[in-house]
């Protein structure tokens, strides 16, 4: 039924709306998404019918009962019967709406028996995903906006998924009940993916629950929906639903990479490795504020910076702890020792800084431990 109605609306609005202009809620890909969509259409059509009836009466009156047509005003001003009728009838209609609304809500709240738990943490302005599994190397990563500053500031052509693309999407298996445990690290955020109909506030110090079971493989995009500071508009959510087998393979690869990172942390890395990995970290975590050439922007310039070219431990302190009251965040909890060592090395040698300093993961571990 819902499909027919929305189809009707789209046809009606077709001249006004080009194909890309979606005018209605997405029915989504999940069962709950479809239920919510049906509910939305049902309530909307009830409102449309009531609205048409009420406005028909009003416009008839505007047309027929004009003074300019010589209509004489009658003086009635009360009728208990009518008053009772238009109190009771709407009440009954509301009860009819409340029934499906209640049952859909109960479904949304049914968080039990999930097969996979994922902890989602909102940060200013990115998401962190951690797979909570009993065994194996833990898998966790950050998901940052992948749209370039050039696209945002109009010097480059905007891509198809402008502002809705990330460096690393959340990967979940299809046909599996996945439970999301949602929280935040700083201010309140809200994790929303319209097509799977999950929206939950991410509140620092508290953990909210939500769940989904995605039947179809696909990429589903959403955004943060609670004002969380300057870059609230720039922290998209991308969920990649893949078949179970593919998910397991992805998970194994992630675990392998995590193990490799832990091992790397105990080794001495070559300057080239550090610089390569450092550039990757810089581009995803630092570039937005400090510029592609280290020239600065929202943040200070890295090129020629006294902090970067000065004492190593104070350089690391700024990166790890942030600068309070500014946009410079504390990256200590976000980068592992290898990444930290790499980005410090990169900053100290790129953009003409050429200090020649090489920071090893072991140095970082050492500084962390005092």
């Amino acid at each position: 039924m819902g499909k027919v109605f929305s189809g009707a609306i789209l046809t009606f609005l077709a001249p006004l709306a080009a194909a890309q202009n979606q005018v209605n809620m997405s029915p989504g890909v999940t069962e709950i998404g479809a239920d919510i969509f049906e509910l939305h259409m049902l309530i909307m059509w009830i409102c449309v019918v009531i609205g048409v009836a009420v406005f028909a009466v009003m416009f008839y009156s505007i047309y027929a009962h004009r003074k300019s047509k010589g209509h004489q005003a009658s003086q009635f001003h009360e009728s208990t019967k009518v008053e009772v009728a238009w109190t009771v009838v709407p009440f009954l209609i509301l009860i009819a709406m409340a029934v499906p609304a209640t049952s859909t809500l109960l479904e949304v709240y049914d968080n039990d028996e999930a097969e996979l738990d994922i902890l989602i943490t909102g940060y200013q302005w990115k998401w962190k995903y951690e797979y909570l599994e009993e065994s194996g190397e833990p898998v966790a990563f950050f998901s940052n906006l992948a749209t370039s500053q050039e696209e945002i500031y109009n010097t480059d052509k905007k891509g198809d998924n402008y502002l809705l693309e990330v460096d690393e999407p959340l990967v979940i298996p299809t046909n599996t009940k996945v439970r999301f445990l949602i929280t935040a690290n700083d201010v309140i955020h809200s994790w929303w993916v319209p097509e799977i109909a999950v929206k939950r506030d991410a509140i620092p110090g508290f953990i909210n629950e939500a769940w989904t079971r995605v039947p179809e493989e696909g990429i589903y995009r959403g955004q943060c929906t609670e004002l969380c500071g300057s870059y609230h508009g720039f922290m998209p959510v991308v969920v990649h639903a893949v078949p179970r087998g593919e998910f397991d393979a992805w998970m194994a690869a992630k675990r392998g990479a995590a193990v490799a990172q832990t091992q790397l942390a105990m080794q001495t890395l070559s300057v080239d490795d550090l610089m390569d990995q450092g550039k990757a970290v810089y581009d995803s975590a630092c570039l937005a504020c400090h510029g592609a050439q280290g020239q600065g922007g929202i943040g200070n310039a890295i090129a020629g910076s006294a902090v970067v070219m000065g004492d190593l431990s104070s350089h690391m302190a700024v990166v790890a702890k942030g600068v309070s009251g500014t946009a410079m965040q504390a990256f200590g909890g976000q980068l592992n020792d290898v990444e930290m060592a790499a980005v410090l090395t990169y900053q100290r040698n790129a953009f003409g800084n050429n200090t020649g300093d090489v920071v090893q993961p072991g140095d970082v571990t050492g500084m962390k431990n005092g």
């Binding site: 209605n24 509910l39 009003m58 009156s61």
Partner: protein, 526 residues
């Protein structure tokens, strides 16, 4: 009852020291119009940035300052004071009282407002910029993570609260004590009734708002942790407190508007208001319900299911008395002798658009569906339909309706009607497409958006410029009327107008009803 029929003092001291309800009403109205233009300017900045995808004019942080100040200035600076101004002018004249009950306090409640807004606006020039956490200022964005100017914001909110509380105590005291003999409660014009109920709402919830900002102040400067989980507090507590104020607040904004419409529709239908008593009861029920629905703004914070259901059912219930009001207005028009002067046009515009906003409100009240609507442009569309097309349209109708009485001059009907049509069309071009982008997934309070939202956003911005420009026409029309409008001397001005305010000479003299009037016939038959 002195026999001193003196006029106003001369010069600036007339305005600084006045205790005259008409002067104070005038000041409130001009002040709120100035705030309307300021808040409108902020809105134009917002719409200009959103004209196209990509960042063009302002930085994201500044964009957030604009949305925050726009909301605060419109709600607390434009809409609320404008209705207090209207109350000042009209309540004494409608109940046959010589002035407000507490005239000196009346002067104070106005004069603390301009400094408060000056302070709020000055935050734009402070280090770190103006408040950027939205008009709902959720903690901890508004506490731990706010710019230093937040302290000035808190002080400004306190002053506005004091002003509102004084204003409402004055209205309650006036209505309860100063009605002319024979003016029983159930004979009072509906505008007086809706304001009386609004005043009680204000006295009940402004202290709650004051509590919320005081707790913020403590968290920021005195080391408490009301809203910080790290210290054992709870950020969601802030939202409960804010919305316990905030939901009644939206009815504080709309009830006086209901009152205005209930005065004007009968006048241009030349027929008594249908269902006077049920209008009073509906207003009272809305006011009562407004206290038990606040968490419908918080369906996604993770409330237990029982809470979720309770707030959903209670919110849905509000549709009943709201519907009763709409049905009553339409029945008032039914078989009347209708004419369509500017005030009536704005009231019909109100009726259509407010009802649309009520429908989207009903949709939003359905908790599971709200998971998809919440914090999207669909909500933005909803509250602009109820607040702009509701409160602002009815306020505009009120100005056109009573201005000739106040200044003894008639506005230009042609210009008024032009103003109506441009506003009506501009408003809908602005806000109707916002339903679409909201449903399609565009979050609110973002300075830049994905490409699929581009066309409707451009449309919205064009509409906003049209709507904004039409307000300048309004300003011009009002000034031209006061300065050089065609004189009117009829006491009634409008042939269908009823009520005591139409029994005094036109223009209304500086002092009215120094002797209590005889109350003519029951309000039910007005």
């Amino acid at each position: 009852m002195g026999a001193h029929h003196h006029g106003p003092a001369q010069g600036i001291s007339r305005w600084l020291f006045t205790t005259n309800h008409k002067d104070i009403g005038t000041m409130y109205l001009w002040f709120s119009f100035a705030m309307f233009l300021l808040g409108g300017f902020f809105a134009m900045v917002i719409r200009a940035e959103l004209f196209q995808p990509g960042m063009q004019l302002v930085e994201p942080g500044f964009f957030n300052q604009m949305t925050t100040l726009h909301g605060l200035v419109m709600v607390f600076g434009a809409i609320m004071p404008s209705f207090v101004g209207l109350a000042n002018w009209l309540i004494p004249m409608m109940i046959g009282a010589p002035d407000m009950a507490l005239p000196r306090m009346n002067n104070w409640s106005f004069w603390i407002l301009p400094p408060a807004f000056l302070m709020l606006a000055s935050t734009l020039f402070m280090e770190g910029g103006a408040p950027a956490f939205g008009w709902t200022f959720y903690a901890p964005l508004s506490t731990t993570y706010a710019a230093p100017s937040v302290t000035f914001f808190i002080f400004a909110i306190h002053i506005l609260g004091v002003s509102s509380i004084m204003g409402s105590i004055n209205i309650i005291a006036t209505v309860m004590n100063m009605r002319a003999p024979g003016m029983t409660y159930m004979k009072m014009p509906l505008f007086v009734w809706t304001w009386l109920i609004t005043a009680f709402l204000l006295v009940a919830v402004m202290p709650v708002l004051a509590g919320a900002v005081t707790m913020m102040l403590m968290d920021i400067h005195f080391g408490t942790s009301f809203f910080s989980a790290a210290g054992g507090g709870d950020p969601v507590l802030f939202q409960h407190i804010f919305w316990f104020f905030g939901h009644p607040e939206v009815y504080i904004i709309i009830l006086p508007a209901f009152g205005v419409v209930s005065q004007i529709i009968p006048a241009f239908s030349r027929k008594p208001l249908f269902g006077y008593a049920s209008m009073v009861y509906a207003t009272a029920s809305i006011a009562f319900l407004s206290f038990i629905v606040w968490a419908h703004h918080m369906y996604t914070v993770g409330m237990p299911i029982a809470g979720e259901l309770f707030f959903m059912y209670a919110t849905m219930l509000i549709a009943v008395p709201t519907g009763v009001k709409v049905f009553n207005w339409i029945s008032t028009m039914w078989r009347g002798a209708l004419s369509f002067e500017t005030p009536m046009l704005f009231c019909i515009g109100f009726l259509i658009l407010f009802t649309l906003g009520g429908f989207t409100g009903l949709m939003l009240s359905i908790a599971p569906a709200d998971f998809q609507y919440h914090d999207t442009y669909f909500v933005v569309a909803h509250f602009h339909y109820v607040m702009v097309a509701g409160a602002v349209f009815s306020m505009t109708a009120a100005i056109y309706y009573w201005l000739p009485k106040w200044c003894g001059r008639m506005y230009s009907e042609a210009m008024g009607k032009t103003h109506f049509w441009i506003s009506f069309i501009g408003f809908n071009i602005t806000f109707f497409p916002q339903h679409f982008v909201g449903l399609a997934g565009m979050p609110r309070r973002i300075p830049d958006y994905a490409l699929q939202f581009a066309d409707f956003n451009m449309m919205s911005s064009i509409g906003a410029f049209i709507y904004g420009a039409s307000q300048l026409l309004f300003l011009y029309n009002v000034i031209a009327t006061i300065v050089a409008g065609k004189p009117v001397s009829d006491e009634k001005v409008w042939d269908g107008a009823e009520g005591l305010e139409w029994t005094v000479p036109t223009p209304a003299p500086y002092h009215t009803f120094e002797e209590p009037p005889a109350v003519p016939k029951p309000a039910g038959t007005i």
